[in-house]
Every structure is written in C-alpha cells, then in structure tokens.
Symmetry: C2
DNA sequence: GTGAAAGCGCTAACAT
DNA sequence: ATGTTAGCGCTTTCAC
C-alpha cells in the first residue's frame, strides 16, 4: 500500500506557477495579495483537497494555538461544565484545548504538565489536585514562560492569575441561613481542608458563627471525609450510632448532602422537620432528590469562560511586563430549597 | 523583555561537543548509543532544563501521537466517562487527546473534524451529532487516510469500526420486565429516532411487544421529545391533561424518566403502585431519586477504553490492508430498582 | 557508536 | 504584489 503524501502549499504553487510564499499569504488572507490571486489559490486548494498543516505552522511560529487544561476529574459535573466554557471561548479565539485529568494525584499532575509543555501549549489552566505537597511542577511551567492560571481551586504559594468564586462569603451566608432555622447544632462534612475551596468554605462557617455569637465548641461538629454519597452516608450513620446530636447537616458538596439526607431519612428523620440539610455546588441532581436540597450555585461555565478569556488575553498581549497576576472572584449565590426550610 | 529561546538538542550537543543526532538518539534511548554517552546527554539535558519539543518531532515523523475525540456534549455523564476511558488508554500508550464538542450540531462537527485534520491527529473517535444529514465531513477524514471510528452512536452509511452497546437487546429485556409488571399500557418518551441508539432502543421495545403478543396499536404510545427533565415533565403533564391513559413510562434516558416521575408524583400518582417508571443509562442520579429508578447500565468507561485500544492498534498496525472494519458490541445490563417493581 | 546532511510544511524577513 | 531564502527543532538515511 502506497502512502499518498498530502498536498502542500508547494504543490499548489507549482500548479499555479507562483511561489509558495504567495500561496501561504493567500491562504492566510494577507492584504498584500491581490484578490484575483487569492481566488485562484483558494480554488486550486479546494480542487487539490489541500489540508492546512497546523503542525508545520506551529513549529515555525513557535506557537501552538493550544491551551492545556488540567482538572482532577473530567466526570465531575462542575469541571466538565467549566471545561465546556473554556472550550467555547478557546474555539472562538482560534485555540484548541488539550484536556488532562490529574485524578487528584500530584504525580499525574506533574506528568500532565510535562506532556503539555512538550506539546508547547501556549498556556495552562489548572484546578490543582487535592494532595499537592510540592509546587515544583507548577513552577516548572512558569520557569519556561508558559503562563499557568488557576481556576476554582488554587495554590496559595503560587502567585498567578486566579479565577475563583467567593466561597467564603457564600458559605457564611448559607450558614447564617441554617442558623436562622431554629437549630441547635450544626454538623459539617468537609473535604480536605488543605484544598483552597474547602478551607474557604469552612472559614465561612466560622465567620457565620462568630457573627451570630454562637459557640463553635458546643454547637458545631466538623468532620473531614471523602466528599461522595457513600462516605457521607457512612459518616452520618456512624454519628447516629454514637448518639451524636445535631439537627442540621452542611455537606461541602451536593453529593455529601445527598448521602447525608439518605442516611437520615432511612433512620426515620424527616427533612427538614427533624434535621435540615444543605449542600454546595448546585449539581443538577440537587433539585431532583426529595426534598430538593438547599445549595450554592457556582457559575462553572462562567469560571471556565473567564479563565479562558484571561489566558488568551495574556497570551496575545504584546507587552507581558504590564501584566500582573490578578484574582477574579465570581459571585456564587444561595439557592434555598425545601431541605433547609422549616416552618417555624 | 527578551524572549529567552528554549534549549534544543543542538545546544546540548554543543555543550558536550558531540553531534545533535547523537543527542537525539540518546534521548530516544536508541540502542546504538553507548550507555556512557546516554548518561552524559541525560544529565546535561536535565542541567540545561531541556524540554522535548513534540511539535518538531511530529512534523518530522508525520505523526502527532494525538487522538481526536468528538462528542455531542462533554457535560453528559456518559460521555465524560467514556472520554475518561479513552484518555486513560491513550495516555498509557503515549498518546494525547484533543476533545471537541459538536453540541449536536452537524456544522460544528464538520468544523471540529477540520480542526482535527489540520492538527494532524492520528485518528478520530466520534459519537456523531443527532442531526447529521450528510456524511461528507466524515468521509473527508477517511479520504485523507485518517481513521475515524464510532463509539456509542454511529452512522449506518459509514462503514468503519464501531464500539457500541447491545441497546436493542437490553431495551427489549427492559420492556419485557415492564410488561410483566401487570400493566395495561406503556408510554415511551424517545429521542430523535434518526439517531442510531434511540432507533435501536425503540426497535427493542417492538421486539418485546411482538414476543409477548401485545398489540402496539392499543397498548403502546410513543412520543419523541428532547430527552431532558423539563421536556419529559411537560410531555407527561400534557398527556395527563388530555386524559391519555397509561400506567408505565419508559424514558429513553434517565433524565426523561426522572422528569416523568416528578410530573406523575406531583399529580398524585404513586410510583410504582399507580405507574411504573424506567429510564436508560444508569446516571449516578438514577439511584438517588425516590423511588430509585430502574435503568440500564451502559459500560461507558469500557466503551471508551475499547474504542481507544482499537484505534491505537489500528494506527500502529503496520499492514493496514489486513484490517477490516468491525463492530464491537459491549454488554449493557438491566438494573431493576423500586420504580418498576410492583407488589402484585 | 557517532557524524553529516537533508528535509518535514510552513512563515517571514528581505528583496524586487 | 510577488519571489527568494532561511530556518523552526527534530529524525533518519547514509557514511565512516
């Protein structure tokens, strides 16, 4: 089987008896080429089934028009939505995206960064893994002058542009709502508090307690779990077995809230009459369980779009020295549903 | 600001007073290079912060080690899981993936294919858009000798490798289960039946009716909707308003089933006592609503993995002429939950 | 086991 | 408005 070589600009040039540079310019719609020549070239290109070769262009221009994305899990709705936002903005601006999963492993994350660097991406958008004990791999990208921005999650020590939500404030707001529902003791299921987002959400809870003059010693219990349905289910059941008392549960994501609600309902507690429940992130599922769960809507799509826009601006900015790293905070907002509303 | 040029194999060669081809061989672990030289090169590369340039290699070797993926919506759990499977296999074999969304638009799909072709991907895995009236854009990839395989959804006219599930058989099995639950009339909410998967699922329903000797005229109603929670909710309410009678609902995905269940419950019907409900795809949410919904588990991750494996095999196969297109059918299976189980 | 040299397909100075 | 030319960073054939 003969491998038929693909058509290049040289082939087009030869066929038209002109120079390949003119073909290149014509295809790139360069104003210095006459309309007539442009038409000639485009027609011939179509006729010969010419297919532009980005590889060659990228090598020559030292620019790949590609943005790398690293997320913990592409299957989580929040991230796939954010990616969707990034992709939309990127394509609009003529960029491709390469998506990598870190699976919340620092090792994989470092590998991903390496891959992206050898693919010569023009920038990297990352929501870092939970267990990130060193920042060398991220520093590596910066050392090579490849901009790397955070979205949603971030690492404190690394000073670069961040696109995040006002988790702390909204978490406080949600907690204030819970405290107003005639409760005695709030149980919180949190994720790893070394992760920025969970750290901030917990801080928001303490803010609310302080503002309300509530004693965190006696009226707050907090446990760190893997934030999924099963772990929350187990945690709640364990508390109930140990006769730990609480009449409100705040899960730091919706899955934890749903698992908690399920456990409570199975043990005969009515939601919200006996225990009120709240989650975080406004997963599509949160409004479909019964009762629907109070949560926080995070603008995932907007986070993605904004992060992409900022990255593309940065890449295409001529004078990079003017650019300082900045933190963009998007507003998330409370969605109060049945699970936390008591008829006092 | 001076743009510092990146380190190349020539820089390493110069530093070691050897030839760049030797450096290249050493870095690629070529057996014809002495262990001593290899060590020298690797150490120097690390010292100089050398970063391999895939772009250059790709251009030279005419191979990008990249697989393109096109799905309708990355935010759908089934697809993000399949992508996750593809990614895992691809990375294992040293390939990157570029992910594109068609948003179920043929136009975007054609654009995506173009992008992937100019990026010189080594192969394309696609789950085609709903509205695909022409196959030119897919043919284009094949004409350029870029293998394009289907996963999950496929287009009948295009003869290429497919990795799909046995939707028709499982849909029949599920329907048989429903018919056995002492029901009189089944209402089906389907998606666009010009899409292979929905077409097959509907065929499965007819298979079951035929096998059971049920009359489809009198005991089956079928409506095509946009398969989401809201459209299903609206469709069910419309039926109820018009006094259409039915005591079983089969939604062709879980979202439709959930929307149906919600509408029915709000109108006072008990599930499964008054009406039984079933869905398709086993979205995580399907077991969390109440009652949990009977559905079909599709091995999304495995579909992705298998599609990726087949593609990579194909790409790396020396003698392509030996390879015929084939259809791999993965087994999906029934998950019977409370929503369809009647205490007769 | 290592070197020399050509070239993948494109772009962009510079020249005319 | 178009042509000439060099080269992006790597791989690979052919020498030795």
């Amino acid at each position: 089987m003969e491998l038929k070589k693909s058509v290049t600009i040289h082939d087009i040039a030869k066929a038209l008896n002109i120079n390949s540079s003119t073909v290149s310019r014509a295809l790139n719609d360069n104003p210095r080429v006459s309309a007539k020549t442009k038409k000639l070239v485009h027609d011939k290109a179509k006729e010969m089934h010419y297919q532009y070769n980005s590889l060659a262009s990228n090598l020559r221009t030292q620019k790949s028009n590609t943005i790398g994305i690293i997320v913990p899990h592409i299957t989580k709705h929040f991230f796939s939505t954010a990616i969707s936002g990034i992709e939309e903005e990127a394509h609009k601006a003529g960029y491709n995206v390469i998506i990598c999963q870190s699976k919340d492993s620092e090792q994989l994350e470092a590998k991903n960064i390496n891959t992206l660097l050898s693919s010569r991406v023009d920038g990297i958008l990352i929501s870092p893994a939970i267990k990130t004990t060193t920042v060398q791999h991220i520093q590596k990208a910066m050392d090579r002058n490849v901009p790397i921005f955070f979205f949603d999650r971030y690492i404190d020590e690394i000073n670069t542009t961040r696109v995040i939500t006002n988790d702390r404030a909204t978490s406080k707001e949600l907690t204030l709502h819970l405290l107003s529902q005639n409760i005695n003791k709030l149980a919180v299921l949190t994720g790893d508090t070394s992760v920025s987002i969970y750290e901030n959400r917990v801080k928001g809870i303490y803010d609310a307690f302080q503002q309300s003059g509530w004693n965190t010693e006696s009226r707050l219990i907090l446990q760190q779990i893997k934030l999924d349905v099963d772990d929350a289910y187990t945690a709640i059941n364990k508390w109930l077995d140990e006769n730990v008392e609480f009449d409100a549960v705040f899960g730091m994501n919706d899955m934890a809230a749903i698992g908690s609600q399920k456990a409570l309902q199975e043990r005969g507690f009515r939601i919200p009459e006996d225990v009120i429940v709240a989650g975080f992130s406004n997963e599509p599922i949160s409004k479909l369980v019964s009762p629907p769960i109070t949560t926080v809507h995070q603008p995932a799509m907007e986070i993605g779009k904004l992060a992409a826009k900022k990255m593309i601006n940065h890449i295409e900015e001529k004078d990079k020295s003017l650019l300082a790293s900045e933190t963009a905070v998007l507003e998330s907002h409370l969605i109060i549903r049945t699970s936390s509303q008591r008829n006092k």
